[in-house]
């Protein structure tokens, strides 16, 4: 019999800690379990750090409008962690874009988001882009955000964060979930009527660990239909004028280079070269897992893995150079890797960047899967 909590949250990313803080402030007793040695070690930190305004959804106006609302709210709540001191420029490629310059502009007007037409030749090589637009969008600094969350949580004695946790078992009893885990050699157990699965790439792994107490085996399969991509974000040192701008070429062979929060680095990513390997299995199976602790049952941290792939810098930098004017120079600093789960349906549908699923009503289990940082507010109604 372990200690009892009002909520147990698996995964100390932004969604996990946001939920912990939200519930903690209500006076609930909360336990947060994290695999890595500190929070925000994976997807919350390792992504483009974009605070989405909605520019990415030219095919879904409703998503764009919702994004814009969340953007403003996120901005108010976390202004201290946001880098807005650069010009964020979106451009539409001349050749392969599914969305042309005019469509993009019309879409922005309809969504009520800033979109000021600029001359593409200011930033891009002649003929490469059909349109360039100054937009209102910025990036957040995950590490500043982390420090803030940790400081806030410190003031709440009812919220406990445990790192370096290895989950062993999740058993569904009549009224509670019983969770067995190992932390720094100790075998521990905890109970809760409310389990939140906020693990992102490991979401199916956690779900498949749940089983019913009567020994009937697996609970009903509520896993997500996802594929997994091992993604690379390149951090680089921007030089000269590039320091103060962020560039995103929309659609097609999409790439973007923009300030990575307040770290002083720029992140470089591209649609074609950022994903390295893909797994189409329900649970992430990869060749690179052989000989490591990582397995389809438990993902480790890709950035710290000995088997991480070679950087795609030669590809990504050439793609960026192909578009950008030659005076924008930058150099390689290092690469970050993380696993990205992609909802199968979202590939054709822009309308749901965040999915929250109630896996079990009683006891309650909720899983959240979101690739966008500012849709964190979607969780409020479930907490």
């Amino acid at each position: 019999m372990g200690s009892v909590y009002d909520k147990i949250i698996i995964g100390a990313g932004l969604y996990g800690l946001y939920a912990a803080l939200y519930s903690g402030k209500k006076g609930e007793k909360v336990l947060v379990l994290e695999y890595d040695s500190e929070p925000f070690s994976r997807a919350t930190f390792i992504n483009q750090a974009r605070v989405h305004m909605g520019y990415h959804y030219p095919r879904s106006l409703s998503t764009a409008l919702k994004s814009a609302g969340y953007y403003r709210r996120f901005h108010e709540d976390f202004s201290f962690a946001i880098n807005d001191s650069f010009r964020q420029i979106y451009a539409t490629g001349s050749e392969f874009s599914w969305t042309g310059a005019e469509e993009f502009q019309e879409f922005c007007i309809a969504a009520g988001i800033r979109c000021e037409a600029l001359s593409p030749d200011t930033y891009f090589k002649p003929g490469m882009c059909s349109g360039a637009f100054l937009t209102e969008e910025d990036t957040y600094d995950a590490m500043i955000l982390k420090d803030w969350f940790l400081k806030e949580l410190e003031t709440l004695p009812n919220v406990q964060l445990v790192c370096e946790v290895r989950l062993k078992d999740i058993r569904r009893q009549k009224d509670v979930f019983e969770i067995a885990f190992i932390c720094k050699g100790d075998r521990l157990q905890a109970e809760t009527p409310y389990l939140l699965n906020a693990t992102y790439a490991s979401t199916n792994q956690v779900l498949s660990m749940v089983h019913d107490a009567d020994g009937a085996g697996q609970a009903a399969d509520t896993t997500f239909a996802i594929k997994y991509e091992l993604c690379e974000i390149i951090l680089c040192n921007a030089e000269g004028d590039l320091r103060n701008i962020g560039l995103t070429v929309m659609d097609g062979p999409f790439f973007s280079i923009m300030p990575f929060g307040k770290t002083g680095y720029h992140s470089l990513t591209s649609v074609t070269f950022t994903p390295h390997v893909t797994s189409y299995d329900r649970l992430p199976a990869f060749k690179c897992q052989e000989g490591t602790e990582c397995s389809p049952a438990q993902l480790c941290n890709c950035s710290r893995c000995a088997h991480k792939p070679d950087s795609a810098w030669p590809y990504m930098s050439r793609l960026a150079d192909k578009y950008m004017r030659p005076e924008y120079t930058y150099s390689y600093e290092r690469s970050l890797y993380s696993m990205k789960p992609i909802l199968r349906s979202s590939e054709v549908d822009d309308s749901r960047p965040t999915v929250i699923r109630v896996n079990s009503e009683h006891p309650r289990m909720v899983s959240v899967l979101s690739g966008k940082i500012n849709t964190v507010y979607d969780m409020d109604e479930y907490l």
Binding site: F96, P126, M128, P253, H276, P314, Y315, R318
Partner: protein, 317 residues
């Protein structure tokens, strides 16, 4: 394994695929093998122009047997677009420092021609075209000699097996104009240094392989004359001038008859005078309209549409 003798360069190979099932394997083995041995990083872009045979299956089979350690992209075109626009799409997709364009998969050249072409590039030519010492077909001969005579280009063009472009050349081509109806012609007139390499054809073929069906080739030839030469404009201008001269002649004859010939039917002079002056005006206008049309052609060079159905990536780094 990084080879020390590899050039520290990124090379893109852009290849046109149209019902080439039987030739893909050899091409990939030899050309990509050579590129892997010679350059640090490679990329292969296969532009599938609506193949109706098993070309694409063959490509998949090849790479599942021999997984590539370079990037492979297959561009699937929505409908058959012909070699010129297909290869334009492929070239625009490429990201390499140097880009090889293969319009045809048959290899009748010593494989070292690839590195020879690269060597020429290093010597300062941004565009290197490689051709065999074929006997040219009569129609090709006519086309190239007429073309070269009237295009007033920097370099003359001829049949080519493959070519190598530097990234600088590609940037330049894009800034010259975005519509490229006939690649050779644009490449050779982009203002950068171009060079030509010739090889002795290995194997049996003595005449150059045909790229595309003959009606497509005919269309391309006529279009190229319109776009890149002033031959057609000159012909029409000539016809106009001829008619103006005839019309003026009639004017002169009418005037002469008015004074010299006393037996004219009444009204003949005024009728002929009106007709001939009128025709002179009409042909004058034609000349102006033709000029306008040629300006319009220049303007529409800025229009282009890539119709891609799908881009498939097989393997990365």
């Amino acid at each position: 394994m990084p080879h020390s003798d590899r050039e520290p360069k990124f090379v893109s190979v852009v290849t046109y695929i149209h019902n080439d099932e039987g030739r893909i394997r050899k091409f990939l083995d030899e050309v990509m093998g050579k590129c892997r041995d010679s350059f640090d990083k490679c990329e292969l872009i296969l532009v599938n122009d609506d193949s109706t045979d098993g070309s694409i299956d063959e490509i998949h089979r090849y790479f599942s047997e021999k997984p590539a350690d370079y990037m492979v992209s297959i561009i699937k075109l929505g409908l058959k677009q012909g070699i010129e626009s297909a290869m334009n799409i492929g070239r625009d997709m490429s990201i390499g420092d140097y880009v090889f364009e293969f319009d045809d998969l048959s290899i009748d050249y010593p494989i070292d021609m690839l590195t020879d072409a690269y060597g020429k590039c290093l010597e300062g030519s941004d565009i290197v075209s490689v051709s065999g010492n074929y006997r040219m077909r009569f129609t090709s001969k006519c086309f190239y000699s007429l073309y070269n005579r009237f295009s007033h280009g920097q370099y003359s063009i001829g049949p080519e097996t493959f070519r190598l472009l530097s990234r600088r050349a590609i940037n330049r081509i894009r800034s010259v104009g975005s519509f490229i109806p006939y690649r050779k012609a644009v490449y050779m007139n982009c203002g950068l240094k171009a060079d030509r390499l010739t090889y002795d054809v290995t194997g049996g073929a003595q005449t150059a392989p045909k790229h595309g069906r003959s009606d497509e080739r005919m269309n391309l030839a006529v279009d190229s004359f319109i776009y890149f030469t002033d031959l057609l404009e000159r012909i029409s201008l000539g016809i106009c001038i001829m008619f103006i001269v005839i019309a003026l002649g009639v004017v002169a004859f009418t005037v002469w008859s008015y004074f010299m010939d006393q037996h004219l039917a009444s009204g003949w002079v005024s009728l002929m005078g009106f007709l001939s002056l009128g025709f002179t005006g009409v042909f004058g206008l034609f000349t102006i309209v033709l000029r306008y049309l040629s300006v319009l052609i220049d303007l529409s060079f800025r229009q282009r549409h890539h119709l891609i159905e799908d881009i498939e990536k097989i393997s990365g780094n």
